[in-house]
């Protein structure tokens, strides 16, 4: 065996070691692959990678950043990204789990509402970047609903979220991004105030709206894939027909699937 083949490292092994060195900051994992003193040069790549991930989190959570300040945000982001690297080359989708991380992040414990604001911003990012499916064929839905006596389930638009929050994160978010100090001071934040907030993109424009409890329960039933006939009959106090109409009008559902006895959900 000659020296050349004795030291040969496959490309897969090379990339595993370089990736590990860049993720952990332990340059020693890959130093022998490179000529010269490669440590400071690997550090430049590590710096670029971390900088890109911090920037992506910042773009997806601008209100969280303003609430805690840029230095605190960057510190928290660097701790988060060490355990949660990006999975896909889609940085506008990066940050799944950031709200959960903030909820357990001891230095932010005083800001009890922070994780809810992060949850809301995650839904906003999704509303802004989700794909645009073909619109729902209302006539086809009507025919299918009549023919099956409502035994079908609606498919939500990928931009749509209904959030269950403990704090008025939508009001905080709006006041922070608009720089409205008065509105921020007027908020009572001395205890949890559970609420539902709808986030969607309607004809390109972002919608962030609180939803009253009965209406939220109805929408949640639809989002859970309930049979349309059962969802419509669920709450006798609610005008579900006009509610469904307004959801369809706003493009919140883009398809439906039949549910017969043979293919239960």
């Amino acid at each position: 065996m000659d020296w050349e083949s004795a030291v040969h490292v496959s490309l897969l092994e090379t990339q595993r070691r370089v990736a590990a060195a860049l993720r952990t900051g332990e340059a020693a994992l890959a130093l022998d692959l490179f000529e010269g003193d490669a440590g400071p040069r690997l550090a430049v790549h590590r710096h670029t990678i971390e900088g890109a991930l911090v920037r992506a989190l910042r773009l997806n959570a601008p209100a969280v950043e303003r609430l805690v300040g840029p230095e605190f945000f960057e510190g928290a982001a660097r701790i988060f990204l060490a355990d949660r690297p990006a999975g896909k080359p889609r940085l506008d989708e990066y940050g799944g789990g950031f709200a959960h991380f903030l909820a357990g992040f001891a230095p932010a414990r005083e800001l009890a509402y922070l994780a809810d604001v992060a949850r809301l911003e995650r839904a906003v990012a999704r509303a802004l970047h989700a794909p645009e499916p073909a619109p729902l064929d209302l006539a086809a839905l009507q025919d299918a609903a009549l023919a099956s006596a409502g035994r079908l389930a609606l498919l939500p638009h990928p931009a749509l979220s209904l959030l269950r929050l403990q704090w008025p994160a939508d009001a905080i978010w709006r006041a922070v991004l608009e720089g409205d100090e008065g509105a921020l001071r007027a908020l009572r934040l001395d205890g949890p105030q559970p609420r539902a907030v709808l986030v969607h993109r309607e004809r390109g424009a972002l919608q962030v709206e609180p939803v009253p409890a009965p209406q939220a329960a109805f929408l949640e039933t639809l989002l859970d894939g309930a049979l349309l006939c059962e969802a419509m009959a669920g709450d006798a106090q609610l005008d579900t027909v006009s509610l469904l109409g307004s959801h369809l009008q706003a493009g919140r559902f883009t398809g439906f699937i039949p549910r017969t006895q043979e293919n239960p959900s």
Binding site: L11, L33, P40, L42, A52, A86, P89
Partner: protein
């Protein structure tokens, strides 16, 4: 609604379009012959995708991908390839490009363009990935030369020869980034003019120019950092002239990605590139007379 122009990218100076200039470009429609965008920023269906479609109605657009990770040893990400294909089918770009580098492995994406060792094994892997990407996109790819900070101990094939082999075996084209050549040759050695002479001239479908930074490391050595955050330096302009003399007039793009200046600054720098492209025709005409 304007009629969409032909998607063909002219052999003129275009500009890399970034978010801070979206609104002005939509309102003012500045006289730029073509734009290039980072494909991964427009894969969704929201406002940025709408903006790109509106811009495409008035200009040819080139899609520059950063996420195919063509050098990865564990096979191309088919899901990402399919999303790029959807975008390309919507935008009808005049050119599609990505880099001779890797950035994803397993389920992890490292947002940087990481270097490859120039070996026979790497050539076989990149060749298979480029062939699959071209098939999946239904389009020819231009492959951009990397800006290197590091040199692998075992990297026996010169980069220009590696790229020439890739062109011969996959039918891909080349995107010659002259700023990357300046940066790489300063950081890890090499002769940029020899590089220009080695790659197949007919395969070069686009040129990039950009600025870079200089960082002094702890040991006192100077490293060029390809940050696209300033005007192209004199060396880059001289190398652009040398590249145009060899490759002829090809679409030339100004990239600026950090500390993005007002559009006017980009128009001035692109204008400098355009005058070099114009001068090329005049020099050739003089030689022919």
């Amino acid at each position: 609604m304007h009629a969409a122009p032909s998607g063909r990218i002219p052999a003129q100076a275009g500009i890399g379009l970034r978010f801070p200039h979206h609104a002005r470009v939509l309102q003012e429609r500045p006289p730029v012959p073509w734009w290039e965008v980072h494909a991964e920023n427009y894969l969704g269906g929201g406002p940025s995708a709408r903006t790109l479609l509106a811009i495409r109605n008035d200009y040819p657009v080139s899609l520059h991908a950063v996420g195919l990770s063509l050098g990865r040893a564990d096979g191309i990400d088919e899901d990402h390839l399919a999303r790029l294909r959807e975008l390309a089918d919507r935008i009808e770009p005049g050119l599609v490009s990505d880099h001779l580098s890797w950035s994803s492995l397993g389920g992890v994406y490292l947002p940087d363009l990481l270097p490859l060792p120039m070996t026979e094994e790497a050539l076989a892997i990149v060749r298979a990935n480029v062939a699959r990407a071209q098939e999946g996109l239904g389009r020819r790819l231009l492959i951009e030369n990397p800006s290197a900070l590091l040199r692998y101990r075992h990297s026996p094939i010169p980069e220009a020869q590696f790229l020439a082999e890739l062109v011969a075996r996959t039918g891909c084209g080349l995107l010659c980034d002259v700023n990357n050549l300046v940066v790489s040759c300063a950081n890890v050695g090499g002769d940029p003019l020899q590089w220009l002479d080695t790659v197949p001239a007919a395969a070069v479908g686009e040129i990039h120019i950009a600025g870079h930074a200089i960082e002094v490391l702890e040991d006192g050595s100077r490293l060029r950092i390809d940050d696209h955050g300033s005007r192209p330096v004199g060396e880059t302009w001289r190398l652009l002239d040398a590249a145009l003399a060899r490759f002829g007039a090809v679409p030339t793009l100004l990239e600026w990605d950090t500390q993005i200046p007002p559009l006017e600054v980009l128009l001035v720098e692109a204008g400098r590139a355009q005058s070099r492209l114009d001068g090329l025709g005049e020099r050739r005409a003089r030689l022919a007379a």
